[in-house]
């Protein structure tokens, strides 16, 4: 599990650096530190709940097994993100310089990174489906647990990332490690009330 933790940390740090690179070099450093933190904190917060879910759905799993599968999922996601970092970098370098006029660029980059991270998360959770099938020995039950875990990772990971924002870095706020209003709002609310309406010109 130590190796998985190393892969998770390095992969996420690599992508995190690209994530923050658009706003400022210091933001790249902050994001490189915070994205691995998102992975580790998400692992810690979801492990016990995921173990409870599996138990409630009638599968006997030890907490150690759930821990290993959680680390496997998030390490895989980090590896996928690291492999996508060159692609993300080319789009970051192509975006207009950060300024208050570059809100559209910020929102596009935000959506783009969200899609990449969501895709990597799905790839990571897909990686644990095989081991989960072997442990459950019941495909239907395994599928239910798998979907429940995906939802848990998505909701918890999204909220942890929101609390540890900024990653891309807003054009309206200075570069900081953490925002003062860290626990105000959530990522989904931000995407549907700010990012998408601006891109689709709803407001």
């Amino acid at each position: 599990m130590g190796q998985l933790l190393v892969v998770m940390t390095c992969g996420a740090a690599f992508y995190g650096a690209v994530l923050g690179f658009w706003r400022a070099p210091i933001q790249a450093l902050y994001a490189a530190m915070k994205l691995p933190l998102v992975m580790v904190v998400t692992s810690c917060l979801t492990m016990v709940f995921n173990w409870m879910l599996a138990t409630l759905m009638g599968t006997r799993m030890t907490l150690g097994q759930v821990t290993a599968l959680t680390f496997l999922a998030l390490a895989t996601a980090s590896l996928v993100l690291a492999s996508l970092a060159p692609v993300a970098l080319i789009f970051t370098l192509s975006a207009p310089e950060p300024s208050t006029d570059a809100r559209t660029a910020h929102n596009l980059l935000y959506l783009f990174h969200t899609l990449f991270i969501a895709g990597a998360g799905l790839a990571g959770t897909a990686r644990v489906k095989g081991p989960l099938d072997r442990i459950c020995r019941d495909p239907a039950r395994s599928r239910k647990i798998h979907y429940a875990w995906i939802l848990t990772f998505a909701f918890v990971g999204g909220e942890v990332a929101w609390a540890l924002r900024p990653f891309v870095g807003s054009v309206f706020f200075p570069v900081v490690f953490l925002r003062g209003d860290a626990f105000h709002g959530n990522m989904y609310e931000f995407i549907f009330s700010d990012i998408l309406p601006h891109l689709l010109r709803w407001n």
Partner: protein, 242 residues
Amino acid sequence: MDERSPDALVNKEDIGSALPVSIPSAPSGIGPALAELLKHPLWAITRLESGGPILPSLRLLTGGAVCFVAYGAAAGFFQGGAQVGLAAMKAPLIVLASLLLCAPSFFVFGSLAGADLSGRQVAGLLSAFGGMLGVLLLGLLPIAWLFSFSTSSLIFATWLHVLAWAIALWFGWRFFTLAFPRAPARNVAFLWTVLFTVVSFQMATILRPVLYRAPGTPVVETGKLFFLEHLGSLKSPEPPKK
């Protein structure tokens, strides 16, 4: 292009059974290598899987790059003059840079989908993929040249090349379905092809202008732009031609 439907190939052993008992050694020239890639794409894949040298695949990529140069030159005839040479230089750069940027994700995606890939196989497969794209564009070159030379609409010319690129990419993806006939890897290959497509559009935007350069403007524009914005900006009044 394939000698057997990808759906009929269930696993690597099936690939082997679809082939002649002995595969001829790789052609030594670039032309014969590209011709073989068109007629027997499985041979290049099987040589890579059986641990053959990577040189034939690199030969395919070199051939592909030559094809991109030719296609770029044909596209440059939209404006003519120096733009023919500039487009000929930019076209291979766009494709090769996109391949390089997407190589890490090809390895990771493929490995996660269950394909047992080595670095050598990744380099070989991507080189053959590049060769396939190049030779398909070469096939479309006369049409591209005719329309590029005769049309005065930048929008039409741009979308014509997008269509040609889409056709080449479709067959490029079909090449991957031969390398990865089983479902997870095959689907992931499709996903990667989409990623490669998006990156190639962005690379074309970074290296713009490819088709038309207004007098007095630099060879490569310095402003930063997303490819969607770039395609959208083509709605602006058309530049005077020639």
